[in-house]
Amino acid sequence: MPTFVYMTRCDGCGHCVDICPSDIMHIDKTYRRAYNIEPNMCWECYSCVKACPQHAIDMRGYADFAPLGHSVRVHRDEQKGTIAWRIKFRNGTEKNFLSPITTKPWGQAIPKLKDVPAPSKEMRDGQLLYNEPKWIRMDDGGLRTLKDARLTLKKGVAY
């Protein structure tokens, strides 16, 4: 789902050019607006979409995957420390999410592995990885499974 730019919204500030890890967001030489120079090299990381102060960048879903009226848009509000997603499905269903931004300043999120006590034999033999369940928020119960939620997997496409 490569990015594209709404030309009327873009003011050519260059934040997307700055942040693109694939270096494919560039400033158009005719209109001085940003554009994706190589959509098939876009790895759909959404960095530019989140960085754009004008919300001028959107994702174009592949026609077989997300046709007709779908929308996946994001607002990264760094002043409030949140990231919000609004997802519209083509059948009109809408999902809204709001989460804290968990990006840490450079050098602040290095685990101090030297200070961590060595795992016991029981932990070594267990299924959980380092810092689980704490870091994946399973501390208020076990791993969430379909069975726990009394759901069953349906065959085929379920709506």
Binding site: K29, R32, D77, W85, N96
Partner: protein
Amino acid sequence: MLDFNPFAELSASIPPAVMKGYVVLMAVLVAAGTLFDIVHKGSAKYFFTNWRRPNRGRALGAGELVSIAAKTAVVDVLASGEFCHTKRRIAHLLTMYGFVLHVVATVAMVFGGTADVWPRLWWIGGIMLLVGGYWFWFFIRVDVAAEGSSRFRLMHADLFVLSLLASVTFGLIWAWLLARGSGAAWVVFALYVLASTVLFGGVPWSKFAHMFFKPAAAFEKRVSEADGTHQNLPTLTRDDPEQQARHSMELLRNAPMDMGLGIKREAPRHY
């Protein structure tokens, strides 16, 4: 100097009817060029198709639409409210108001305005435009500020700003030379007319038409905020107490509501 009306002086050599005809021709070129641009790029078609799309959200009353149009005019157009970059906004305001004052004063003087205020507005507007325009051209232009290109590299996108700057620069130099009675004034006058013709005649190939499509886009954005569709953008925020109380927002429980500028703390210039 600010009281010198160059067009009054010029009318001794060029008949006022010719000057008026030239101004009318330029106005016609702008109108025709803008219409051509709208048809060629399909911007009006896009605007109205978008306007009529079925999932528009809540229907807005005429009063609300007028209020949105007034907000767009005051905030987005008159105060260049869409710019995030403060320097660009100041440069744009200087250039825009300088251009308006300069053009209005030019038309007034060509059509026989003799009030003292017109020459002053003509000079002050021109100087404002030059300050804003050259500041933009040499320091703020995105491919200069961010991509590290030469300040003198020309490309298609520069047609508008360069012809605007050339027109006003030559105009002011011509008026200054004319006031001093210099013979070189005619050479500069020819350049002034040439640059002005390129500026107003080049509408289909330059970004001159942005003064029409940018307000339309700003209006559309405000309408989509008012009708609840918000251009499909998320509407959940931390201001909502219900959202603050959610389990996954625990990390931000004691965080301040303003956590700093984030990505906006630095202008983009690192690539």
